[in-house]
């Protein structure tokens, strides 16, 4: 089955997925052959009621997820929410206490070898052998995935080319820049075209250019039929890449939907106006309330006013006209959709620590030796 058919199957399945309240999901429409459609599963990742406890602390507590084949699912949440734990369980690296997990059509606890044959994982840190060159790394990982010597070498050359690493192919990976290391890491994950690719915070600590390269690669992969599960604490990353986002908090999925759906759940769009003269704030607030039919907030410090609107275009046109007629000088005027930051606050009832959700930090919730650090 070609990628296009796989993608069509994925889309078809999207319509069959029924999402219930409270993070519990049930997938309908499994075909008779156990969810497989000509070797490709309709739903690439299913997790139900996952529970994982470390030393009495629940890292995952009823975590559920369903990702249609050929789509990108974003796991969004602050540090310690359980994203990395979930990915490690899905990638067969970690055992779990309760629940059911199927990845690429195989049961993670009963057929881990089968799962490993069909997945690839790129973690938060570049998981390559720093003492070896980029080329040697790719050949090594190819050989360890049972490619023959020549096939591994040929594949390595292709990937070096594709990831723009040919020029540094013989240098030790430790000498690579952060972006190059991450590209090498991603290339190592793609040696055997995985059905499901796990990306655990793939752009943490990357400069914008390298980040865009990673994003482009992910888009191409998905276009070719790969299913991607992406964890991120960057809202814009989830917004840009993910078909659907699962918001994770304290070990469970607290909300799920497309980026737009999630934003819509936060409430209406808003008209925002910044006026030049602070003295006319009250007058402007009254004017905007009248146009929008809703009370307007005003912030004297920033001279910014906000009002909820229902019809975006009408609100924009009419408020612009009213402001001009009243002779109020305007510095900025526009319709704003709620940000995912605001979405997160609304969905979880607490603000994701700003540093955690938007800051570009390198050290995140990592589990080494099976312990949360």
């Amino acid at each position: 089955m070609g990628p296009a058919t796989a993608r069509a199957a994925g889309r078809e399945h999207r319509r069959l997925t029924v999402v219930h309240q409270g993070g519990q999901r049930f997938v309908r429409g499994w075909s008779a052959d156990g969810g497989k459609l000509g070797g490709m599963t309709e739903t690439a990742i299913v997790a139900e009621g996952l529970r994982k406890t470390y030393k009495g602390v629940a890292a995952l507590d009823g975590f559920g997820l369903s990702v249609p084949a050929g789509t990108v699912c974003g796991l969004l949440g602050p540090n310690g929410a359980g994203k990395t734990t979930a990915v490690r369980i899905l990638a067969t690296l970690l055992r779990f206490d309760a629940g059911r997990v199927e990845v690429a059509g195989a049961d993670v606890s009963r057929q881990p070898e089968l799962v490993r044959d069909r997945i690839a994982l790129t973690g938060q840190y570049s998981a390559v052998d720093g003492s070896l060159s980029g080329r040697q790394n790719l050949v090594l990982f190819g050989r360890l995935q049972h490619l023959g010597r020549r096939a591994a070498k040929e594949r390595a050359e292709e990937l070096l080319e594709q990831f723009d690493l040919t020029g540094v192919a013989d240098r030790s990976a430790t000498e690579y820049s952060g972006g190059m290391q991450r590209r090498l890491d991603l290339a190592a994950s793609l040696i055997r075209a995985p059905q499901v690719l796990f990306l655990d915070e793939p752009t943490t600590g990357l400069d914008p250019r390298s980040r865009n390269q990673v994003w482009d690669t992910v888009r191409k992969l998905v276009a070719d039929g790969t299913t991607v599960l992406l964890t991120t604490q960057y809202l814009d990353e989830a917004d840009h890449l993910a078909d659907r986002i699962s918001v994770v908090d304290t070990g469970r999925v607290v909300a799920e939907g497309t980026p737009d759906e999630l934003k819509a759940r936060i409430g209406a769009d808003r008209l925002e106006v910044v006026i030049r003269d602070q003295g006319r704030l009250a007058e402007t607030a009254a004017l905007l309330s009248r146009v929008a039919g809703a009370p307007a907030d005003a912030d004297p410090d920033t001279r910014r006013l906000r009002v909820a609107v229902t019809d975006r275009v009408d609100a924009l046109v009419e408020s612009a006209r009213a402001l001009r007629d009243a002779g109020i000088a305007v510095d900025d005027l526009g319709i704003r959709r709620p940000t995912l930051d605001e979405a997160f606050l609304r969905l979880t009832g607490h603000r994701a620590d700003e540093k955690e959700l938007t800051g570009h930090r390198a050290d995140d919730d990592t589990i080494v030796n099976g312990e949360i650090r």
Partner: protein, 260 residues
């Protein structure tokens, strides 16, 4: 099974490439035994004689064994780095045999040990050391030294999987290795130590292999009539096997626990 062997062999190649790509580490690595040979052999050698024979003849087998002991540090560091840098996670998420990492590391360590032995034997001959009982006995001595190295490799792999940070490995290995050599028959006779230290020294696995190597190389020994000294060759086989029996399961268990 064939897959496991093939994966182990690929991993062996990986660790051997490290040697080729980082030759400066090998040079650093040899500085210690060569220094010991020169310093002890020449500076003290003239003033210290054991049973009226050359101290250098006496010392060299000890230096050979001691070098293997310090090799444990490189093993532990490599495993710890692999775990901490997430390379092990990548291996574990691939259809690679789970045994590949440790099988590969221990095989690569044996190859390294062979190279090291070649360098050390050459240095030994250059300073006047000789094997006196023929090639067969010499090979037997080398075999026992390599057997100890294999055991130490498993100790190192266990240490590397327990220590949370690669940087602390070297901090642990030296305080562990130094007393083991000092409290052995490498430099002085256990009989010259206080009784309780002497007993530790007699039964030290390092002493067993050193005494066995001296015997098989035909180098002067200590002439001790204590049981461990009389049965050095037996102990030089039993001790490493016992260490492997203890540390191999422990290391494998640690590796499995990564998934807990």
């Amino acid at each position: 099974m064939t897959t496991a062997l093939a994966d182990g062999w690929v991993m062996t190649g990986r660790y051997l490439r490290h040697v080729v790509r980082e030759p400066e580490q090998i040079i650093l690595y040899f500085s210690l035994p060569i220094m010991f040979t020169l310093v002890f052999g020449y500076v003290f050698g003239s003033g210290m004689a054991v049973g009226g024979v050359s101290y250098r003849e006496f010392l060299l087998p000890g230096v050979f064994v001691m070098t293997q002991l310090y090799g444990l540090g490189a093993t532990a560091t490599a495993i710890s780095l692999d775990i901490n840098r997430g390379v092990v996670d990548r291996f574990r998420s691939m259809p690679t045999a789970r045994s590949a990492l440790m099988v590969g590391r221990s095989t690569a360590d044996l190859v390294r040990a062979l190279i090291e032995m070649a360098v050390l034997l050459t240095c030994g001959v250059l300073v006047g050391w000789q094997a006196h009982r023929g090639i067969g006995m010499a090979l037997a001595a080398i075999g026992l030294i390599l057997l100890l190295r294999l055991a130490l490799t498993w100790v190192g792999m266990y240490l590397g999987s327990v220590v949370p940070n690669p940087d602390t490995v070297s901090l642990i290995v030296f305080p562990l290795a130094f007393p083991l050599t000092a409290l052995s028959n490498v430099f002085v006779a256990p009989e010259q130590m206080p009784a309780w230290l002497g007993a530790i020294s007699q039964w030290n696995p390092i002493s067993a292999t050193v005494a066995a190597a001296r015997e098989l190389f035909g180098n002067p020994g200590l002439g001790s009539d204590a049981w461990p000294a009389e049965n050095a060759i037996l102990l030089a086989v039993v001790w490493p096997l016992a260490l492997i029996a203890i540390f191999a399961p422990l290391a494998v268990r640690r590796y499995r626990l990564l998934g807990k």
